[in-house]
Amino acid sequence: MTKTLIIDNGSYSVKIGYATDDLNWSPHIISNSIVRTKDKRLILGDLVDRNQNISGCFFKRPFERNQLTSWETEKLIWDYCFNSEDLKLHVNDYGNDPNDMNLILTEAPFTLPKITKNTDQIIFEEYGFKSYYKNITSSFVPFNWEQNEKLYQTNQLSGGDDKKVYKDYQLVIDSGFDSTYIIPVIYGMVYWEGVKRLDIGGRFLTGFLRELISFRYYDVTDETILVNNIKEQTCFVPINYNQSLEKLKQEKIRLGPRPKPGSINDNSMIVEYALPDYKTTTKGYLLTDELRKNINDVDELQIMRLYDERFSIPETLFDPAIATIKHRNGLIKTIYDSIYSCPELVRPLLVSNIVCIGGNFKFSGFKERLQLELKKVLPVEWDIRIGIDEDPIVYGWKSANCLATNHMEMYEKLCVNKSDYYEKGWGYVNEKLGCKLKGW
């Protein structure tokens, strides 16, 4: 049987795995980077976690500004994914052969034609896959409509019992490492005229946190991994920014300038992060109540207290002015503009089918905040339903898996065969798989 390999090639990580019938299976997540460590070794990004020393790492990524420019790096990472024993994909081994394999690949929106051409050539000429389909990650989400419905379930449609499933209209918010895209998908096709972009992604948020910590507490300008870990473990999206600030202020006053040990617990707004001291920890960790009980002398640890950083970092997505970036719209205005650049009839339908994918939606409280803010700007009679999966990073991959397992006949129609590529050339491939914006 012909296997189907699915690669969600994001600018931060590669999500890779064979299509399976088990729709809940999560793919492998491999960091899409090459790292130069402090002792000047070059290693693959995925091996960094096993490398104990995370300080002073420099990243080189195949993606620059969401465009896959450096194929020599990307090929190394793919080769590792395909062949190594760590993942056990064995693309060239154990009876597997790319010449008898389908490939579903995702790419970034608005990839330059020259860069797309490189990708197509590498796929067919270097690896030689039998057939190949490529689209942006968000375009796969409607295929996963059963799961999407489950995600919305907490806030049902109003207006009686006849719950119609409007799976043909889907608004996808893809907030990744490089930038955030709002993508309307109508009848399974991306409505390119409505696609809007916000130049804030995970890298920006990490950079902003790095700047804040470096200015206020310790110099962490070279500790990208540490700062990223801190961001992932401590940050959350506030329901109301000003209220959170006020709450924090009250707590600061209550605790005084030097809080006593034990006065900060899991319920407080302030968190404590144990920094790497290279005696007890080399990576740093978040101090929780459980850990505080087990550790004998907390004073020995080098602790950094985080105050408003916890919620002002994610808040930058909604209001870039926090990072003193003026004349840029936040997420809500971008979503609003995207909805309003779609045909008028479709707008309410799009609003009731919003799915969020991408790593930034791992911040807790995102769903509630989005719901609240969208309600403020959109007409009252529109039902706003937002779905965020527990693991929004791999949700795009899982949706692509739905295409491969449930709709194989559709894949047959969409894909480009290798024989077609050699016969009709790259122009044919691009006509079928390329970006379909007018004037692109």
């Binding site: 070059l42 916000l198 070279d222 202020k249 408003d308 002002s312």
Partner: protein, 220 residues
């Protein structure tokens, strides 16, 4: 009265010269009102239209442009993964790395180095010269070290769309929504501004830190 007046030689063509015969503005009058030292002094009765117009209409637009550029620069500054990006550049060898990863188990290599690993593999039994890329086209792709700016330069039309206004949501400059008033040092609510540079601060402590470190000393 058919008086013909000669325009002084070497006068600026941008400057409109009108008759100064009936003008009786004394020098002292100018100097008392005009304290701007940098302004170019013009002959009596002449007006620089470019400058007048700029003063009347464009000043707000100019300010906007400056702020936009400032924001873009600031965005670039934050939006970097490696802070000292210009200092370190990671380059892979042009001839390519002979790394196959077949049967590779990362636990076997606690201290892994791509370059070392590829050299070792090259030394082994499979010592024939490693060729990067199966076909001429793919070899070209794998050897090329183009950066994103090279691609943008080659493909100006598409780059324009990518940077253009259509892709981003339009900014409403006249929006009356108030921004957040946050302290530039600690991030809490701040009603006050620094007297010298108009950056917000929340209290005396933060003001002192601000004065020592970030105060640029001028408005704007």
């Amino acid at each position: 009265m058919g008086l013909v007046e000669e325009i002084p030689k070497g006068s600026d063509p941008n400057v409109y010269f009108s008759s100064s015969i009936n003008l009786k503005a004394s020098k002292s009058m100018y100097s008392s009102s005009n304290t701007d030292q940098t302004r170019k002094r013009l002959a009596a009765g002449s007006y620089n239209f470019n400058q007048l117009e700029a003063n009347a209409h464009d000043s707000s637009l100019n300010e906007n442009l400056i702020e936009l550029r400032k924001s873009a620069k600031r965005h670039q500054e934050i939006d970097r993964e490696n802070y000292n990006e210009h200092q370190v550049k990671i380059e892979l060898p042009r001839s390519g790395l002979h790394v196959n990863f077949k049967g590779f188990v990362s636990d076997d290599y606690p201290i892994f180095d791509l370059i070392n690993y590829s050299n070792n593999v090259n030394k082994g039994a499979n010592s024939r010269r490693f060729k990067q890329g199966q076909t001429p086209q793919t070899r070209k792709i794998l050897i090329s070290r183009k950066t994103i700016n090279n691609y943008f330069d080659e493909d100006i039309d598409h780059a324009k769309i990518l940077k253009g206004d259509d892709l981003f949501s339009k900014v409403d400059n006249n929006s009356s929504l108030p921004g957040k008033k946050l302290c530039s040092i600690c991030g809490s609510n701040a009603p006050n501004r620094c007297v010298r540079c108009a950056v917000r601060f929340c209290g005396v402590q933060c003001l002192n830190i601000h004065k020592e470190t970030r105060c640029s000393g001028y408005y704007g």
